[in-house]
Symmetry: C2
């Protein structure tokens, strides 16, 4: 879907890595949460609490998922899953617009 | 207010200046619209169609409003208005989180 309806949005952004990664929290009526974010080119490592579905709306990146030794290339329109309580690495090549769902 | 309720949010970001300025569109039940955005340090010029209220949630910038010759310093918690059909210049000193209302 291209938009989320009947949601709440926090006014203040989450800001990470000196603003090179930022996101907005979107809360749904069923109690679930997503973040809509932007990642500027660079290399980052993130940790999860809940499992995550990362949908890449636009962008170009490589991801190293937990337990893997090979980086995967992900482009706009593609997605990947990250398990709970894990860490993953990203190499962002082009400005990346994402939607992260907490599962 | 710290959050917007009962709104729609577009999934895809607006991306300007190679991603150094990005924003998300939030649509309200009364037909009005706001954008929530991030500006990275740099210098930018923007044009308005509608008049705008720019609330700076966090950040540090100078703004040159249309018709003015003196730059004003704006910090987090402050705001400024821009008239319709005008252009204004920004010098962003620190990562800036904003909420723009179209009046």
């Amino acid at each position: 879907m291209s938009q989320f309806d009947n949601v709440s949005v926090l006014k203040a952004a989450n800001v990470y890595f000196d603003g090179k990664v930022t996101s907005r929290v979107v809360m749904f009526a069923d109690g679930t949460k997503k973040t809509l974010g932007i990642m500027m080119p660079g290399e980052y490592e993130f940790g999860t609490e809940a499992a995550e579905l990362m949908e890449i709306t636009a962008g170009d990146l490589d991801v190293l998922l937990p337990g893997e030794t090979e980086w995967q290339t992900i482009k706009g329109g593609e997605e990947f899953n990250v398990p709970a309580n894990a860490s993953f690495k990203l190499k962002i090549r082009a400005v990346t617009d994402y939607c992260c769902s907490y599962l």
